[in-house]
Every structure is written in structure tokens, then in C-alpha cells.
């Protein structure tokens, strides 16, 4: 039986294929699903579906609407872990197509939820269906890119994952434009915007489906020779996904990602009120919104820059920089707030957020170095459960500690100092885990032609 257009066999690149046409395919998917970071632009309009210009009795509360994003991120991690192995088997084209169906379809179901004012349908559409699209879409191009760029795996995955950071930069103004266009005296325009965005993102993700290719099994970049001398913490062996997650190295990397993300995501979620409260009376809500946009820009840029840098200085050293510099910057924030320097404050958080993004983008190459390329996409999927945990832990830590401080009589401008020191402690845990990273024992390596690791591995 001949392979269909979506099958892995149909995506094997012919000889002489230019590998630089693959990163745009990955970017098309990640720029689309990166919309998730801009979901907050719908929060307020979703609380005014009945009242239109104000929240009326029967309208959803902000806390209820806020769960939509949390569900989507939690499902992202779970679906990446659950479907990682399927993504490896099915290949990038079929998985990108599935992601597009789920993500675009999620918007449509959410639009129906808005039409019938059903919160459950909103959760089911954007949160669950969209979340599955996020998870599958996020991991679908990773192992393909690593195989196309064995000489620069950090740069390649950084380029794709940069798209996830950049997606919010496109989605935020696009959502506002569409809602303004569809808004009438009897509608907030959210339902029509959801339908339009579902269609636009589905079509945009089809660029990735059309353009993605996998290299032939024996393909190597022209003139590239695999290093003969073994490099520290870079293996040429392979570890199967079901074995990898039982190793100490997997859980060290899980903690490294979780700590890096917890520190960054907590700040990102509270960035707007934080700058307004620390510099009370000097930063308007509008300017605070600009600050959040600027952080998103550094979150995106950091993904490409740091992941590329990791190809030169090594993954472990890159994370040493993230944690070391992060501790230095977080601990200096209370002093910067006390001095009252807005430019220094913005610069500190710009670097912090660049390292937050860099942490996401460098982890696939780190996994490739430690576990090899065979199941790197599936292993990456399981590691993303760290993101789900951090997505809850980070905002909770920042919000609750701030509230506790304020309730204890601490002025709002100083309510973030303890939080910053707790972030330093989290980064210290991450640093220690990263320093404890060692090569995976030979007994866990996959033996060619079998489905089992070497004897002795449990």
C-alpha cells in the first residue's frame, strides 16, 4: 500500500534537499500555538459577553475565565508526555496536521461556547482540545530539526521554539484588531474573533504540514564529520524513552527546567502590576502593558540567542549562566526598586526573561546530548510536564507571597522583595541539579536491533 501524504515515508527528503527550508515549517507551527501566551487579551471581553460594555449579572468572572489558560497549559504538558511516542512514530507531518486540527478546532469549539455562553465548552474547546494541539504542535518539529542540524542542534531547536515566544507578539495585536473589527452594539466580537483565528491558525499551520521533511536515515550535512573525540556530556548512543525517564539524569533535567520556568513564569504573569506597584505613580497601566510586551520580545529573542550560544559553550555551562546570572539579577531587584531606576529594572527583567525563554529552547539539545536522538522528541514531551507544574507553582508563589506581605502591613512597593529571594532559592536548586549532571550509564543505552536497553538496566 502506498504511503499517504501525511505519512512519515512521504516526508523523506530527496538527495540535495536544502535543510534551511525545514525551520520555517517548524516556525509556522510554533508561531501559531504561541498565541496561547496572548490569551489574556480575551480575559476582560469574555467577562462582558452579556453586558457588552460592562460585566452584567450572569457574566463570567475573571477567575473563571482565567482557568481557560491554566487548563490549556496543563493539557499541553500532559499531551506532550502522552503523545510524544506517537509523534516519533507518526512523523512530523501527521503530528503537525493533528496539532492544527486540534488547535484550530479548539478555537471553533470555544466560539460555540461563547455563542451559547457555556463555560464548559470554552474550557473543552480552548483548554482541552486547544491544549492537545499545543502539546503535539510543540514537540512535533523538535526531533526532526535535531536530525537535520546535528552540527547545530541548539540553534535549530532555538529557531523553532523562538516561534512559541514570538506567537504572542503577533496574536496580541491581531486579537485586538479582530475584536475591534467585529465589535457591535450587541456583541463583544469575541466569538467571531475565535472563529477567524481558528481558521487563520489552521491555514498557517498547513504551511508547516506542507513544508516539513525528514532527512534520509544516512543523511549528514555536506562536509560534516561527527566528532571522533568524545565531548563531555554529549553521547553518540541512544536511550529509549521508557528507559530515559527512569534515569537520574531525566529527573535532574526535569528539575532544572521546572526551576527555571517557575522563576520566569511567576514574574511574567505579574509583570504589569509589579512595575506599577514598585514604581508607584511613575508607571501608568498603559506603560506597564508596554513593559510586558518588551519582556515577551526578550523571551522570544533569548530562545534563539541562548540556544545558539549553547552550541558553542555547552548546555551545562549555558544553564550555569542562566542560574548564576539569574540569582544575581533577582537578588538585585529590591535594591534597584529602592534606587528607583526604571531603566535598570527593565534591563534586569529583560535579561531574566531572555534566560527564561533560553531555558525552554536549550532543553531539547540538552536532552539530545544526554539521551541521543532516537527518542528525543518523546523524552522532550515527558519533560514538558515540568512546565505544567511550573505553570501552577510560579504564579501561585508570586501572588500568594505578595498578598501575604501586603496583609502583614508591608508597603506594596516592597511586597516583592521576599518573592525575589525565594526565586533565587529556586534558581539555586536548579543550579545544583545542573551541576550534578553526569553522562547516562552504558547499561541504559539502546542496543541496535532490539527494543531493550543493555543488560542490567531497570
Amino acid at each position: 500500500m502506498s504511503a499517504s501524504f501525511l505519512d512519515r515515508e512521504s516526508t523523506v527528503a530527496p538527495a540535495g534537499y536544502n535543510r534551511f527550508s525545514v525551520p520555517p515549517a517548524a516556525l509556522a507551527v510554533h508561531l501559531s500555538i504561541g498565541q496561547a501566551y496572548a490569551f489574556s487579551t480575551f480575559n476582560l471581553p469574555l467577562t462582558k459577553l452579556i453586558g457588552i460594555s460592562h460585566s452584567a449579572p450572569g457574566d463570567w468572572k475573571l477567575t473563571e475565565v482565567g482557568w481557560t489558560f491554566s487548563i490549556a497549559i496543563a493539557i499541553l504538558g500532559l499531551s506532550a508526555a502522552l503523545f510524544g511516542r506517537w509523534v516519533e512514530l507518526a512523523g512530523p507531518r501527521k503530528s503537525m496536521f493533528t496539532a492544527a486540527m486540534c488547535f484550530g478546532g479548539g478555537f471553533i469549539v470555544a466560539a460555540i461556547g461563547v455563542h451559547f455562553h457555556s463555560l464548559s465548552l470554552l474550557y473543552l474547546g480552548y483548554g482541552v482540545l486547544g491544549g492537545i494541539g499545543l502539546g503535539i504542535g510543540y514537540i512535533s518539529p523538535v526531533s526532526t530539526l535535531i536530525k537535520w542540524f546535528p552540527d547545530r542542534p541548539g540553534m535549530a531547536t532555538g529557531m523553532a521554539i523562538m516561534g512559541f515566544g514570538g506567537g504572542a507578539l503577533i496574536a496580541a495585536p491581531l486579537s485586538l484588531l479582530l475584536m475591534a473589527h467585529f465589535r457591535t452594539a450587541t456583541s463583544t466580537g469575541v466569538m467571531e474573533t475565535f472563529v477567524t483565528m481558528g481558521v487563520i491558525y489552521f491555514m498557517f499551520m498547513m504551511i508547516g504540514v506542507y513544508a516539513v521533511r525528514v532527512p534520509a536515515a544516512d543523511w549528514k550535512p555536506a562536509g560534516w564529520v561527527a566528532p571522533v573525540k568524545p565531548r563531555p556530556l554529549v553521547t553518540e548512543a541512544h536511550v529509549a524513552v521508557d528507559v530515559a525517564w527512569k534515569t537520574r539524569q531525566f529527573w535532574l533535567l526535569w528539575t532544572v527546567l521546572c526551576m527555571n520556568v517557575t522563576a520566569g513564569i511567576g514574574v511574567l504573569g505579574q509583570a504589569s502590576p509589579m512595575i506599577q506597584e514598585i514604581f508607584s505613580g511613575r508607571v501608568t497601566p498603559e506603560a506597564a502593558g508596554s513593559f510586558v510586551g518588551l519582556l515577551s520580545l526578550f523571551n522570544m529573542g533569548g530562545r534563539f540567542v541562548w540556544a545558539t550560544v549553547s552550541d558553542y559553550i555547552g548546555r551545562r555551562n549555558t544553564y550555569i549562566v542562566f542560574f548564576g546570572l539569574g540569582i544575581l539579577l533577582y537578588s538585585s531587584v529590591p535594591t534597584i526598586g529602592h534606587i528607583g531606576s526604571i531603566p535598570l529594572f527593565v534591563a534586569a527583567f529583560a535579561v531574566i526573561l531572555s534566560m527564561y525563554g533560553g531555558g525552554f529552547a536549550t532543553i531539547p539539545a540538552y536532552l539530545r546530548d544526554i539521551f541521543g536522538t532516537m527518542h528525543v522528541g518523546a523524552i522532550h514531551g515527558r519533560l514538558l510536564t515540568a512546565w505544567s507544574v511550573a505553570g501552577v507553582l510560579g504564579p501561585v508563589l508570586v501572588n500568594y507571597i505578595r498578598q501575604y506581605q501586603i496583609d502583614s502591613g508591608v508597603p506594596k512597593a516592597q511586597a516583592y522583595s521576599i518573592t525575589m529571594y525565594i526565586m533565587c532559592a529556586l534558581l539555586l536548586i536548579g543550579l545544583l541539579c545542573n551541576l550534578g549532571m553526569r553522562a547516562v550509564s552504558d547499561k541504559y543505552h539502546h542496543r541496535l536491533g532490539t527494543s531493550a536497553p543493555a543488560k542490567g538496566a531497570s
Binding site: 534537499y17 536544502n18 534551511f20 527550508s21 520555517p24 515549517a25 516556525l27 509556522a28 508561531l31 516561534g163 514570538g166 504572542a168 507578539l169 503577533i170 496574536a171 496580541a172 495585536p173 498557517f204 504551511i207 513544508a211 508607571v283 498603559e286 506603560a287 502593558g289 508596554s290 513593559f291 510586551g293 518588551l294 515577551s296 520580545l297 526604571i342 531603566p343 527593565v346
Partner: protein, 32 residues
């Protein structure tokens, strides 16, 4: 092949540049 690669990069590059430009436009407000 080169035209195909150029078209693909253009397809993802234009929306990304638009988003970056909009963000920078807004970021200016922070320093005014």
C-alpha cells in the same frame, strides 16, 4: 529550490516582523 525557501521564510517572517514592530511601537511608551 531557492525561491521555495525564500517564500517559506517570507511567509513566517512577515507576521513575525509585524508583531515585533507593534511591540516596539508600544514599548516606546514606557520611556516617555
Amino acid at each position: 529550490m531557492k525561491a521555495r525557501i525564500f517564500a517559506l521564510w517570507l511567509a513566517v517572517g512577515i507576521p513575525l516582523l509585524w508583531g515585533v514592530m507593534k511591540t516596539l511601537e508600544n514599548a516606546v511608551k514606557l520611556f516617555h
